[in-house]
C-alpha cells in the first residue's frame, strides 16, 4: 500500500525539539504542497503538543518515503540540521502505519490515555490536508476509517471514561451535587496556583456569582479581575461562606483558616440546610476535614481529588487490551479491503489480456475450419477455450486475493511483471 507514518512524539523527542518542529498554518500549507509536488505523495501533517507526524502515501509503483529523507525535508522546512532531527524520528510502514494512526486517533498513544481531544486534532489535520488538495484515494479512505475506529474504541470500551485531572474531578463532583449553576455562588478563598485551573473549570459552568476573598486586598482584586468575580473583604469570610454553594480554597496559610467550631457556629446554622461543596486545594489544608458530613457539607482536599483521578486512570488502563483488540481487527479489515480494492484493476487487466489472447488464437482457428463445423461444435470449442482460460486464471487470482487478506501487495507487482500489465 506504500503508506508511511513518520514523526516524533513525547517518547522519542524532547519538548524543545517538538516545539521547533511544530507546524503553523502557513508552514503546513507550504509543506503539504511541497510533499505533493516534490515526492508525488498524498500527505497529512498531524501536529499536537505531544507529536508531529507526517502521513504519506505514494502509488505502489514508486519507492517509499523513508525517515531519513523526511528528516531532510523537515530540516528544510524548519531550518534545523537534519542530523538533529533524524535520530528522533520513527517510521511505521503500511499496515503498521495504519495501526499507528488508529491507535493515535483512539487515544491509545496519548500521554493521557484515552483523551478525546486527539480525535478532533486528527480530523482537523485531515481536513486541512483535504482543503489543500494534498490527499488522494489512500488517505481519503484511511483518515475517515481512523475516526470511525476512534469512535468505536471509545464507545465500546471504557478507555475514555471519566476525567483524569484533579481539576476536572472537582467539576465532576460539582455535577454530582448540583444540576443548575446559574443560581449558584462560587467563593474563591486565596489566590494559590493550584486552584486556578479548577476555578477556570468552575467558571465555565457560568455560576450566578463568583466571590473572591484574600488576606491581601490587592491580590483579591487581581484574582477577581481574572475571573470576573466580586471582592469580599477578608473579615466577611463567614458571611461569604453562608452565601456560597461552592467554595474553592487555595490560601498559603500555615494553619486551617476555618476550624470545625467556627464553621458550626458561624456558618452551618445560618445556611438553612443548603448544600455546600468545599474544595480545599491548599497544602496545608484551609478547612478542618471534620467539617465534611457528606450530607449538607462535602469537603474534598487535593488528595481526595487526586485519588479519584488516579483511580480513573487505572480504570482506563484496564480497557487497553479490549481497545487494542478493536484496533487490530480494524487494521486487518482496512488492509484487506484496501488491497482487495487495489486488486480490481489488475484482475480486470489480466482478464482482458487473456480474453484478447484467446480471441487471437480462436478467431483464425474457427475461420480456418469454416464450413466443417456445425454451430453446436463451434460453441463447444469456444466454451472449452473459455473454460481453459478460467482454470488458468483461477490460481493467480485466488493467490492474489489471499495475499491481500494477509496484508501484502507484492504478488500484485509480480503479476504485473509476469503478464506484462501496465
Amino acid at each position: 500500500m506504500n503508506l508511511r507514518a513518520i514523526g516524533c512524539n513525547v517518547e522519542s523527542a524532547t519538548v524543545e525539539l517538538r516545539e521547533k518542529l511544530a507546524f503553523d498554518p502557513v508552514k503546513t500549507q507550504k509543506a503539504l504542497a511541497e510533499l505533493n509536488a516534490r515526492y508525488a505523495a498524498e500527505a497529512v501533517i498531524l501536529g499536537t503538543c505531544n507529536r508531529v507526524e507526517l502521513y504519506l502515501a505514494r502509488p505502489e509503483t514508486m519507492a517509499p518515503l523513508h525517515a531519513p529523507l523526511m528528516a531532510e525535508f523537515l530540516s528544510e522546512v524548519h531550518g534545523l540540521p537534519a542530523q538533529e532531527i533524524a535520530p528522533h524520528l520513527y517510521e511505521h510502514a503500511d499496515a503498521a502505519a495504519v495501526r499507528h494512526l488508529f491507535r493515535v486517533a483512539s487515544g491509545l498513544d496519548s500521554v493521557v490515555l484515552g483523551e478525546s481531544q486527539i480525535a478532533g486534532q486528527v480530523k482537523e489535520a485531515f481536513e486541512v490536508a483535504q482543503k489543500a488538495n494534498a490527499t488522494g484515494a489512500m488517505l481519503n479512505t484511511l483518515f475517515p476509517a481512523a475516526l470511525r475506529v476512534s469512535k468505536r474504541v471509545r464507545s465500546e470500551t471504557g478507555i475514555s471514561q471519566g476525567h483524569v485531572s484533579v481539576s476536572s474531578a472537582a467539576v465532576d463532583f460539582v455535577r454530582q451535587v448540583f444540576d443548575t449553576f446559574t443560581d449558584k455562588t462560587v467563593l474563591v478563598i486565596g489566590a494559590g496556583k493550584m486552584g486556578r485551573l479548577t476555578l477556570n473549570h468552575l467558571a465555565e459552568l457560568k455560576p450566578a456569582a463568583i466571590l473572591v476573598t484574600n488576606r491581601n486586598a490587592a491580590r483579591a482584586e487581581e484574582s477577581a479581575r481574572n475571573c470576573r468575580g466580586r471582592v469580599i473583604p477578608w473579615e466577611q469570610l463567614d458571611d461569604a461562606l453562608v452565601q456560597a454553594d461552592i467554595v474553592l480554597s487555595t490560601t498559603g496559610a500555615a494553619e486551617p483558616i476555618v476550624s470545625r467550631t467556627r464553621f458550626e457556629e458561624k456558618v452551618r446554622r445560618r445556611r438553612a440546610g443548603r448544600t455546600l461543596l468545599i474544595f480545599d486545594m491548599a497544602v496545608p489544608r484551609d478547612f478542618d476535614p471534620d467539617i465534611h458530613d457528606g450530607d449538607t457539607v462535602s469537603l474534598f482536599n487535593v488528595d481526595d481529588l487526586k485519588r479519584v483521578a488516579d483511580r480513573r486512570m487505572a480504570e482506563r488502563r484496564r480497557h487497553i487490551p479490549a481497545a487494542e483488540a478493536i484496533v487490530n481487527t480494524e487494521v486487518a479489515k482496512f488492509v484487506a479491503d484496501w488491497n482487495r480494492r487495489a486488486n480490481g484493476p489488475i484482475i480486470g487487466q489480466l482478464t482482458a489480456e487473456v480474453d484478447k489472447l484467446r480471441e487471437t488464437i480462436l478467431g483464425p482457428l474457427l475461420a480456418k475450419m469454416n464450413g466443417k463445423l456445425t454451430d453446436t461444435e463451434k460453441a463447444s470449442i469456444e466454451q472449452a477455450f473459455r473454460l481453459f482460460q478460467n482454470r488458468l486464471l483461477h490460481g493467480p487470482i485466488a493467490a492474489l486475493q489471499e495475499a491481500s487478506l494477509e496484508g501484502h501487495g507484492g504478488l500484485r507487482e509480480a503479476l504485473r511483471k509476469l503478464f506484462g500489465l501496465k
Partner: protein, 277 residues
C-alpha cells in the same frame, strides 16, 4: 366464536420483557456499547405494549389489590421509558424497572394466593356511590404514582449521597442524576402526591361510614396503612417546608411512605364483599 389476539397476552409477556430490559441495562453499565441501550429500550417498549394490551383486555379494577398494583406498575413503566429517553446517560432503568417488576410480581403472588383477588365486587348498598368510589380510587392511584416516584428518587438520592460521603465518583458505572435534581424530583412528587392523597382519603372517609354500617372495620390494614401513609406525607411536608430537615432524612421517610403504600395496595378494600380484613 372469535378469540381476541389480546387474550394470549399474559403476565409473563410483560414481566419477562421488563426483566430482559433490566438485564440489558445492567449489561450496558458493565460493558458499555451502544447496542445494549437500543435492545433494552426495545424490550422495555415491548413490555409496555404487552402490559397495555393486558390491561385493555382484562380491565383490572384499581379497587382490587391485584388491579391497583398492575395499574401502578403500568404508569411507572411509562415513567421508566420517559426517563430512559430523557436522561439517556443515567442509570435510570436500573432504579425504576425493579419497582415495576416488583409490583407486577406482587400482583402475580396475590393472584396465585387467591385467584378471587382479581375481582372486586361492589355490593348493592354501595352501588349508588360507584362514581365517587371511582374518583376516590383514581385520586389514590395518582397519589400512589407520586409516592412511587418519590421512592425511586429517594433511593437514587441516598445512593448518590453515600458516594459523596465516601468521596467517590460514579465513574460512569451507574451514573445517577445530581442530588439537586433528585431533590427537586422528590419535592415535586411530594407536592403532587400529598394533595391527591388528601383528596382521595377525604373522599374515602366520606364513603366509609356507609360501608361500616354493613360490618366494615375502621382498623382494617388498608385503612390503617393508608392513614399512616397520609400522616407520613404530612410529616414530610412539615419537615421539608417547616423545619428544613436535611434531604437525606426526607429520603428515608419517603421510602417508609412507599412501604406503607404497598401495604395499603396489597390489603383488600373494606368496600369489597368480605373485605376489611
Amino acid at each position: 366464536m372469535s378469540v381476541s389476539p389480546l387474550q394470549g397476552v399474559t403476565h409473563a409477556c410483560f414481566a419477562l420483557s421488563y426483566l430482559c430490559a433490566l438485564l440489558l441495562e445492567i449489561a450496558r453499565l458493565l460493558w458499555p456499547a451502544t447496542g445494549w441501550r437500543l435492545a433494552s429500550l426495545a424490550f422495555g417498549g415491548a413490555g409496555i405494549v404487552a402490559h397495555t394490551a393486558y390491561i385493555l383486555y382484562n380491565q383490572p379494577t384499581p379497587a382490587a389489590p391485584y388491579g391497583s398494583l398492575l395499574l401502578l406498575a403500568w404508569v411507572l413503566a411509562l415513567f421508566y421509558i420517559y426517563g430512559t429517553i430523557h436522561h439517556a446517560k443515567q442509570a435510570w432503568a436500573v432504579f425504576v424497572l425493579p419497582v415495576v417488576l416488583g409490583l407486577v410480581v406482587l400482583s402475580l403472588v396475590l393472584v396465585s394466593m387467591n385467584p378471587a383477588s382479581t375481582r372486586f365486587h361492589v355490593p348493592d348498598w354501595a352501588a349508588a356511590n360507584r362514581f365517587w368510589g371511582a374518583i376516590h380510587g383514581l385520586l389514590l392511584l395518582l397519589g400512589a404514582v407520586g409516592v412511587s416516584v418519590s421512592f425511586v428518587a429517594s433511593v437514587m438520592y441516598l445512593m448518590q449521597a453515600r458516594r459523596l460521603r465516601n468521596k467517590v465518583l460514579p465513574d460512569d458505572v451507574a451514573p445517577i442524576l445530581s442530588l439537586e435534581r433528585l431533590e427537586t424530583m422528590n419535592r415535586r412528587a411530594l407536592n403532587i402526591a400529598f394533595p391527591l392523597l388528601t383528596a382521595g382519603l377525604f373522599l374515602g372517609s366520606l364513603l366509609l361510614p356507609e360501608a361500616y354500617r354493613f360490618g366494615g372495620n375502621w382498623l382494617s390494614v388498608k385503612v390503617v396503612s393508608t392513614a399512616g401513609l397520609w400522616l407520613v406525607f404530612l410529616l414530610l411536608v412539615y419537615l421539608r417546608y417547616g423545619v428544613h430537615v436535611p434531604a437525606r432524612r426526607l429520603a428515608w421517610l419517603s421510602i417508609l411512605a412507599f412501604g406503607l403504600l404497598l401495604m395499603a395496595l396489597v390489603a383488600s378494600h373494606p368496600f369489597a364483599v368480605g373485605g376489611g380484613s
